[in-house]
Symmetry: C2
Amino acid sequence: MKRIAIDMDEVVADLIPKHLTLFNRDYEETLTIEDLKNTKLKFLRPHLHDEICGYLEDPTFFRDLEVIEGSQEVIQELHEHYEIFIATAAMDYPTSFTAKYEWLKEHFPFLNDQNFVFCGNKSIIHADYLIDDHPNKFEGFVGQGILFTAAHNLQETNYVRVNNWQEIRAFFLE
Amino acid sequence: MKRIAIDMDEVVADLIPKHLTLFNRDYEETLTIEDLKNTKLKFLRPHLHDEICGYLEDPTFFRDLEVIEGSQEVIQELHEHYEIFIATAAMDYPTSFTAKYEWLKEHFPFLNDQNFVFCGNKSIIHADYLIDDHPNKFEGFVGQGILFTAAHNLQETNYVRVNNWQEIRAFFLE
Protein backbone atom coordinates (compact mmCIF):
# COMPACT_ATOMS: atom_id res chain seq x y z
CA MET A 1 0.00 0.00 0.00
CA LYS A 2 1.52 3.31 -1.02
CA ARG A 3 1.89 6.06 1.54
CA ILE A 4 0.74 9.69 1.33
CA ALA A 5 2.00 12.27 3.82
CA ILE A 6 -0.24 15.31 4.14
CA ASP A 7 0.68 18.72 5.55
CA MET A 8 -1.75 20.47 7.91
CA ASP A 9 -1.69 24.27 7.61
CA GLU A 10 -3.28 25.54 4.38
CA VAL A 11 -3.81 21.94 3.21
CA VAL A 12 -6.30 20.56 5.72
CA ALA A 13 -6.40 23.41 8.28
CA ASP A 14 -7.55 26.80 7.00
CA LEU A 15 -5.10 29.10 8.74
CA ILE A 16 -5.24 32.27 6.64
CA PRO A 17 -8.84 33.46 7.25
CA LYS A 18 -8.37 33.42 11.03
CA HIS A 19 -4.93 35.02 10.80
CA LEU A 20 -6.25 37.82 8.55
CA THR A 21 -9.32 38.40 10.71
CA LEU A 22 -7.23 38.85 13.85
CA PHE A 23 -4.72 41.07 12.06
CA ASN A 24 -7.39 43.27 10.43
CA ARG A 25 -9.16 43.65 13.77
CA ASP A 26 -6.04 44.61 15.70
CA TYR A 27 -4.48 46.90 13.09
CA GLU A 28 -7.67 48.32 11.59
CA GLU A 29 -6.92 46.97 8.15
CA THR A 30 -9.13 45.35 5.52
CA LEU A 31 -6.69 42.93 3.89
CA THR A 32 -8.15 39.96 2.05
CA ILE A 33 -6.78 36.71 0.65
CA GLU A 34 -6.41 38.55 -2.68
CA ASP A 35 -3.76 40.76 -1.10
CA LEU A 36 -1.72 37.69 -0.19
CA LYS A 37 -1.23 36.51 -3.77
CA ASN A 38 2.42 35.49 -4.20
CA THR A 39 3.31 36.82 -0.78
CA LYS A 40 2.62 36.36 2.91
CA LEU A 41 1.21 38.70 5.48
CA LYS A 42 4.58 39.02 7.22
CA PHE A 43 6.20 40.19 3.96
CA LEU A 44 3.33 42.56 3.16
CA ARG A 45 3.67 44.28 6.55
CA PRO A 46 7.33 43.67 7.43
CA HIS A 47 7.34 46.30 10.19
CA LEU A 48 4.82 44.09 12.02
CA HIS A 49 6.67 40.81 11.39
CA ASP A 50 6.94 39.81 15.05
CA GLU A 51 3.34 40.69 15.83
CA ILE A 52 2.12 38.76 12.78
CA CYS A 53 4.07 35.65 13.77
CA GLY A 54 3.00 36.19 17.37
CA TYR A 55 -0.59 35.20 16.59
CA LEU A 56 0.67 31.74 15.67
CA GLU A 57 2.53 31.43 18.97
CA ASP A 58 -0.71 31.63 20.94
CA PRO A 59 -1.16 28.03 22.19
CA THR A 60 -4.83 28.10 21.21
CA PHE A 61 -4.44 29.59 17.71
CA PHE A 62 -4.45 26.27 15.85
CA ARG A 63 -7.25 24.69 17.91
CA ASP A 64 -10.33 26.16 16.16
CA LEU A 65 -9.23 26.55 12.55
CA GLU A 66 -11.80 25.65 9.93
CA VAL A 67 -11.23 22.46 7.95
CA ILE A 68 -10.26 22.98 4.30
CA GLU A 69 -13.23 22.08 2.13
CA GLY A 70 -13.33 18.48 0.97
CA SER A 71 -10.28 17.34 2.93
CA GLN A 72 -12.18 15.16 5.42
CA GLU A 73 -14.20 13.31 2.80
CA VAL A 74 -11.29 12.80 0.40
CA ILE A 75 -8.82 11.72 3.09
CA GLN A 76 -11.38 9.25 4.42
CA GLU A 77 -11.67 7.81 0.91
CA LEU A 78 -7.90 7.83 0.30
CA HIS A 79 -7.47 6.09 3.64
CA GLU A 80 -9.05 2.96 2.16
CA HIS A 81 -6.44 2.74 -0.60
CA TYR A 82 -3.35 4.42 0.79
CA GLU A 83 -1.50 4.63 4.07
CA ILE A 84 -2.12 8.18 5.31
CA PHE A 85 0.22 10.16 7.55
CA ILE A 86 -0.23 13.76 8.65
CA ALA A 87 3.12 15.56 8.66
CA THR A 88 3.13 19.08 10.06
CA ALA A 89 6.06 21.42 10.64
CA ALA A 90 5.00 21.91 14.25
CA MET A 91 8.55 22.73 15.37
CA ASP A 92 8.06 26.20 13.81
CA TYR A 93 5.52 26.87 16.58
CA PRO A 94 6.26 24.55 19.51
CA THR A 95 3.42 26.09 21.49
CA SER A 96 1.04 24.60 18.91
CA PHE A 97 1.60 20.90 19.67
CA THR A 98 -1.43 20.27 21.86
CA ALA A 99 -3.84 22.34 19.75
CA LYS A 100 -2.71 20.61 16.56
CA TYR A 101 -3.06 17.18 18.14
CA GLU A 102 -6.54 17.89 19.50
CA TRP A 103 -7.64 19.44 16.20
CA LEU A 104 -6.57 16.33 14.28
CA LYS A 105 -8.32 14.03 16.77
CA GLU A 106 -11.51 16.10 16.41
CA HIS A 107 -11.62 16.48 12.64
CA PHE A 108 -9.89 13.30 11.46
CA PRO A 109 -11.03 10.74 14.06
CA PHE A 110 -10.63 7.90 11.56
CA LEU A 111 -6.85 8.46 11.43
CA ASN A 112 -4.61 6.67 13.92
CA ASP A 113 -2.59 9.15 15.96
CA GLN A 114 0.43 6.88 15.47
CA ASN A 115 0.33 8.33 11.94
CA PHE A 116 0.69 11.95 13.09
CA VAL A 117 4.16 13.44 12.68
CA PHE A 118 5.16 16.75 14.25
CA CYS A 119 8.41 17.63 12.61
CA GLY A 120 10.44 20.42 11.08
CA ASN A 121 12.57 19.37 8.14
CA LYS A 122 10.29 17.15 6.05
CA SER A 123 13.14 15.31 4.33
CA ILE A 124 12.80 12.99 7.35
CA ILE A 125 9.43 11.77 6.01
CA HIS A 126 9.50 8.37 4.35
CA ALA A 127 6.48 8.37 2.06
CA ASP A 128 5.64 8.00 -1.62
CA TYR A 129 3.91 11.37 -1.81
CA LEU A 130 3.92 14.58 0.21
CA ILE A 131 1.06 17.04 -0.27
CA ASP A 132 2.24 20.44 0.93
CA ASP A 133 1.71 24.11 0.15
CA HIS A 134 5.38 25.00 0.74
CA PRO A 135 7.65 23.92 -2.12
CA ASN A 136 10.73 24.15 0.13
CA LYS A 137 9.32 21.19 2.11
CA PHE A 138 10.01 18.99 -0.93
CA GLU A 139 13.78 19.61 -0.69
CA GLY A 140 15.35 16.27 0.16
CA PHE A 141 11.97 14.55 0.32
CA VAL A 142 12.39 11.03 -1.04
CA GLY A 143 8.98 10.73 -2.75
CA GLN A 144 6.95 12.93 -5.07
CA GLY A 145 6.03 16.38 -3.91
CA ILE A 146 2.51 17.55 -4.76
CA LEU A 147 1.95 21.26 -4.37
CA PHE A 148 -1.38 22.27 -2.84
CA THR A 149 -2.34 25.67 -4.15
CA ALA A 150 -2.16 28.52 -1.66
CA ALA A 151 -2.06 32.26 -2.30
CA HIS A 152 1.67 32.40 -1.52
CA ASN A 153 2.70 29.67 -4.01
CA LEU A 154 0.84 30.69 -7.20
CA GLN A 155 4.05 31.39 -9.12
CA GLU A 156 5.69 28.05 -8.36
CA THR A 157 5.93 25.86 -11.46
CA ASN A 158 8.31 23.05 -10.48
CA TYR A 159 5.82 20.59 -9.02
CA VAL A 160 2.59 18.81 -9.81
CA ARG A 161 -0.06 21.21 -8.55
CA VAL A 162 -3.48 20.45 -7.10
CA ASN A 163 -5.91 23.30 -6.54
CA ASN A 164 -8.32 21.62 -4.16
CA TRP A 165 -9.23 18.30 -2.59
CA GLN A 166 -11.31 17.19 -5.57
CA GLU A 167 -8.16 17.39 -7.68
CA ILE A 168 -6.32 15.32 -5.09
CA ARG A 169 -9.11 12.77 -5.29
CA ALA A 170 -8.77 12.68 -9.08
CA PHE A 171 -4.97 12.35 -8.91
CA PHE A 172 -4.99 9.40 -6.54
CA LEU A 173 -8.25 7.61 -7.22
CA GLU A 174 -9.24 8.08 -10.84
CA MET B 1 26.17 12.81 4.88
CA LYS B 2 24.44 9.78 6.35
CA ARG B 3 21.56 10.29 8.73
CA ILE B 4 21.04 8.83 12.21
CA ALA B 5 17.66 9.02 13.93
CA ILE B 6 17.82 8.67 17.70
CA ASP B 7 14.99 7.74 20.05
CA MET B 8 14.58 9.70 23.30
CA ASP B 9 13.21 7.59 26.17
CA GLU B 10 15.74 5.10 27.53
CA VAL B 11 18.22 6.14 24.82
CA VAL B 12 19.00 9.75 25.71
CA ALA B 13 16.41 10.40 28.46
CA ASP B 14 16.63 8.20 31.56
CA LEU B 15 12.98 7.47 32.19
CA ILE B 16 13.08 4.35 34.36
CA PRO B 17 14.75 5.67 37.55
CA LYS B 18 12.17 8.45 37.94
CA HIS B 19 9.28 6.14 37.09
CA LEU B 20 10.44 3.54 39.64
CA THR B 21 11.06 6.15 42.34
CA LEU B 22 7.53 7.56 42.00
CA PHE B 23 5.99 4.09 41.91
CA ASN B 24 7.95 2.81 44.92
CA ARG B 25 7.03 5.91 46.90
CA ASP B 26 3.33 5.73 46.12
CA TYR B 27 2.89 1.96 46.48
CA GLU B 28 5.45 1.34 49.23
CA GLU B 29 7.52 -0.99 47.11
CA THR B 30 11.28 -1.36 46.69
CA LEU B 31 11.53 -2.40 43.05
CA THR B 32 14.84 -1.82 41.27
CA ILE B 33 15.99 -1.87 37.66
CA GLU B 34 16.99 -5.51 38.26
CA ASP B 35 13.33 -6.41 38.70
CA LEU B 36 12.57 -5.01 35.24
CA LYS B 37 14.85 -7.42 33.37
CA ASN B 38 12.98 -8.68 30.30
CA THR B 39 9.78 -7.03 31.43
CA LYS B 40 8.23 -3.67 32.17
CA LEU B 41 6.74 -2.23 35.32
CA LYS B 42 3.22 -2.36 33.84
CA PHE B 43 3.61 -6.11 33.19
CA LEU B 44 5.14 -6.76 36.61
CA ARG B 45 2.19 -5.10 38.39
CA PRO B 46 -0.66 -5.56 35.86
CA HIS B 47 -3.35 -4.69 38.41
CA LEU B 48 -1.82 -1.19 38.53
CA HIS B 49 -1.42 -0.82 34.74
CA ASP B 50 -3.41 2.40 34.47
CA GLU B 51 -1.73 4.02 37.45
CA ILE B 52 1.73 3.07 36.12
CA CYS B 53 0.99 4.58 32.71
CA GLY B 54 -0.63 7.52 34.44
CA TYR B 55 2.72 8.83 35.67
CA LEU B 56 3.76 9.31 32.04
CA GLU B 57 0.61 11.28 31.28
CA ASP B 58 1.61 13.99 33.74
CA PRO B 59 2.59 16.90 31.44
CA THR B 60 5.71 17.55 33.53
CA PHE B 61 6.95 13.96 33.82
CA PHE B 62 9.39 14.13 30.89
CA ARG B 63 10.72 17.60 31.73
CA ASP B 64 13.31 16.75 34.39
CA LEU B 65 14.57 13.31 33.38
CA GLU B 66 18.29 12.71 33.73
CA VAL B 67 20.35 12.51 30.55
CA ILE B 68 21.65 9.03 29.70
CA GLU B 69 25.39 8.95 30.39
CA GLY B 70 27.57 9.82 27.42
CA SER B 71 24.73 10.72 25.08
CA GLN B 72 25.40 14.46 24.98
CA GLU B 73 29.12 14.11 24.27
CA VAL B 74 28.75 11.35 21.68
CA ILE B 75 25.83 13.00 19.85
CA GLN B 76 27.79 16.24 19.71
CA GLU B 77 30.67 14.31 18.12
CA LEU B 78 28.40 12.34 15.76
CA HIS B 79 26.79 15.63 14.76
CA GLU B 80 30.02 16.60 12.99
CA HIS B 81 29.95 13.54 10.74
CA TYR B 82 26.28 12.59 10.44
CA GLU B 83 22.95 14.31 10.11
CA ILE B 84 21.25 13.79 13.49
CA PHE B 85 17.49 13.64 14.03
CA ILE B 86 15.72 12.94 17.30
CA ALA B 87 12.68 10.73 16.70
CA THR B 88 10.44 10.11 19.69
CA ALA B 89 7.12 8.27 19.86
CA ALA B 90 5.52 11.25 21.54
CA MET B 91 2.05 10.32 20.24
CA ASP B 92 1.94 7.62 22.96
CA TYR B 93 1.78 10.45 25.50
CA PRO B 94 0.43 13.57 23.78
CA THR B 95 0.61 15.49 27.06
CA SER B 96 4.40 15.13 26.86
CA PHE B 97 5.02 17.31 23.78
CA THR B 98 6.05 20.52 25.49
CA ALA B 99 8.16 18.83 28.17
CA LYS B 100 9.99 16.75 25.58
CA TYR B 101 10.64 19.77 23.39
CA GLU B 102 11.96 21.88 26.29
CA TRP B 103 14.09 18.98 27.55
CA LEU B 104 15.73 18.57 24.14
CA LYS B 105 16.37 22.32 23.85
CA GLU B 106 17.97 22.30 27.31
CA HIS B 107 20.16 19.22 26.99
CA PHE B 108 20.94 19.18 23.25
CA PRO B 109 21.18 22.89 22.42
CA PHE B 110 23.51 22.16 19.50
CA LEU B 111 20.76 20.30 17.65
CA ASN B 112 18.41 22.22 15.37
CA ASP B 113 14.80 21.79 16.45
CA GLN B 114 13.90 21.33 12.79
CA ASN B 115 15.50 17.90 13.32
CA PHE B 116 13.14 16.91 16.14
CA VAL B 117 10.39 14.47 15.15
CA PHE B 118 7.44 13.71 17.41
CA CYS B 119 5.80 10.69 15.85
CA GLY B 120 4.22 7.36 16.53
CA ASN B 121 4.90 4.73 13.89
CA LYS B 122 8.61 5.10 13.14
CA SER B 123 8.39 3.53 9.69
CA ILE B 124 7.74 7.13 8.63
CA ILE B 125 11.37 8.01 9.46
CA HIS B 126 13.66 8.36 6.48
CA ALA B 127 17.14 7.75 7.87
CA ASP B 128 20.07 5.41 7.41
CA TYR B 129 20.05 4.31 11.05
CA LEU B 130 17.57 4.32 13.92
CA ILE B 131 18.88 3.87 17.46
CA ASP B 132 15.99 2.70 19.63
CA ASP B 133 15.37 0.50 22.67
CA HIS B 134 12.11 -0.92 21.26
CA PRO B 135 12.68 -3.51 18.53
CA ASN B 136 9.10 -3.10 17.27
CA LYS B 137 10.06 0.43 16.17
CA PHE B 138 12.27 -1.14 13.49
CA GLU B 139 9.28 -2.73 11.74
CA GLY B 140 8.98 -1.08 8.36
CA PHE B 141 11.92 1.23 9.08
CA VAL B 142 13.85 1.71 5.84
CA GLY B 143 17.34 1.88 7.36
CA GLN B 144 19.30 -0.20 9.85
CA GLY B 145 17.87 -0.59 13.31
CA ILE B 146 20.36 -0.45 16.17
CA LEU B 147 19.04 -1.72 19.49
CA PHE B 148 20.04 0.29 22.54
CA THR B 149 20.15 -2.00 25.54
CA ALA B 150 17.40 -1.52 28.09
CA ALA B 151 16.23 -3.88 30.83
CA HIS B 152 13.14 -4.80 28.83
CA ASN B 153 14.98 -5.83 25.64
CA LEU B 154 17.78 -8.08 26.98
CA GLN B 155 16.44 -11.19 25.23
CA GLU B 156 16.16 -9.59 21.79
CA THR B 157 18.71 -11.05 19.38
CA ASN B 158 17.57 -9.87 15.94
CA TYR B 159 19.41 -6.54 15.79
CA VAL B 160 22.84 -5.03 16.19
CA ARG B 161 23.00 -4.17 19.88
CA VAL B 162 24.78 -1.31 21.59
CA ASN B 163 25.00 -1.30 25.38
CA ASN B 164 25.92 2.32 25.95
CA TRP B 165 26.93 5.52 24.18
CA GLN B 166 30.60 4.56 24.03
CA GLU B 167 29.60 1.57 21.92
CA ILE B 168 27.57 3.88 19.66
CA ARG B 169 30.65 6.05 19.31
CA ALA B 170 32.72 3.01 18.35
CA PHE B 171 30.10 1.80 15.86
CA PHE B 172 29.85 5.09 13.99
CA LEU B 173 33.23 6.74 14.42
CA GLU B 174 35.92 4.05 14.73
